[in-house]
Point group: C2
Chain length 223, copies 2
């Protein structure tokens, strides 16, 4: 058990170092030896967890996935909205998430398959849209896979614009405005009227998700 904890910690230290180096140098120019120095681990330890530079980048990319989950919502449209606002909040506050998103948006990173996060996010949003459709929350013409790609793609650009213009300071405002522009062509009016589109929603959901994760962990420890 202690060894397992140590291995997880080493893996995290390597990923943090990789995130920093990728952010500072770009994927293209980054080297494994830079990451080794930054992480302060042995070559053997690094290669035990990651086989290559691309493998390290994929590890960082995966960190933006839904580790911190939005709790189940009655309205699946609210659930999607919460995913978007939570992701915006995590981008503002979590360096690892930021590094993953930057790698995803790095059109100059040759030899790195950056489609993963786009595809995985699109799958998660598609599944929620399908549930929303079954519950009658969506307008009749909506095609979940198409609308999902629009939500994921447009959010990617809005975060990029926020980063370029003011280093993410207005990201929550922009994310909320984006959803106000997209949801009226997706959602039936009665659902639309009940949504919480507040700019502070991301922070609220984060606190809620963290509490849920802690309770789950404590339940696991006492079991």
């Amino acid at each position: 058990m202690a060894e397992q904890v140590r291995a997880i910690r080493t893996r995290q230290a390597i990923l943090s170092a990789a995130a920093k180096i990728f952010e500072d140098s770009g994927y293209q120019a980054a080297t494994i030896s830079q990451i080794l120095t930054e992480a302060g681990v042995t070559k053997g330890a690094l290669y035990f967890h990651f086989q290559s530079k691309e493998d390290l980048a994929q590890g960082v990319l995966a960190e933006q996935d839904q580790r911190i989950m939005v709790p189940d919502r009655t309205s699946k449209v609210q659930e999607i909205l919460d995913m978007v606002m939570l992701h915006a909040y995590r981008l503002q506050t979590d360096r690892m998430v930021r590094a993953g998103v930057r790698l995803t948006m790095d059109q100059l990173a040759q030899g790195l398959d950056r489609s993963g996060p786009f595809v995985r996010w699109a799958e998660v949003v598609t599944a929620s849209l399908q549930k929303a459709q079954e519950q009658g929350e969506l307008l009749p013409h909506v095609v979940p896979a198409e609308t999902s790609d629009i939500i994921v793609g447009s959010f990617a650009g809005v975060q990029s614009m926020s980063q370029a213009v003011c280093d993410y300071r207005d990201l929550a405002v922009r994310a909320s405005a984006l959803m106000r522009h997209l949801l009226p062509s997706i959602t039936v009016p009665s659902v639309l009227a009940s949504l919480d589109l507040a700019e502070t929603r991301g922070a609220t959901v984060y606190a809620e998700a963290l509490k849920a994760a802690d309770e789950l962990e404590n339940a696991g420890a006492s079991a």
Copy 2:
């Protein structure tokens, strides 16, 4: 006159070379001497036109601006739609536009102010939205500057997703779908019903704009 033409050609050759090197190496790693070799011009010629690497990048960035103009439309919403679809078409077909957009999206390019294209595009779209508002084309709650940022930002992400997933092959389809998702929360229904949202719209507008530019040039030459 002949000298002026030569200077314009040299400037274009340098920008093309810079676009290629930035695309291959990334902004961070690219060097002026690489660009010199690629362009096949003298150091003196390059420094006559561009003072620094950032200056070269700004030159490439500026190429995605509206050199090729959408002709005036009665409906200003259609004009905005045409700008978006034309830009999507140029991204698919023009290497220089592609290089400019990649630099804009390169969150790893330190010391390069990438806000320019976002801000300039947002200004152009804001101006058109204001005209649309004066003409009664927009829903009463629309704030042109806010909606403009959403259109520009979301398009930036949709193009990035298309590039990551399939190297721009489906960009026209995605751009049209994005506008179908955004415009219903912006435009009054009667305008919405008259819009041409076809996926081939970009190619059509490009041919039209090129013809208009040629006619303008011929008129200038004969004057």
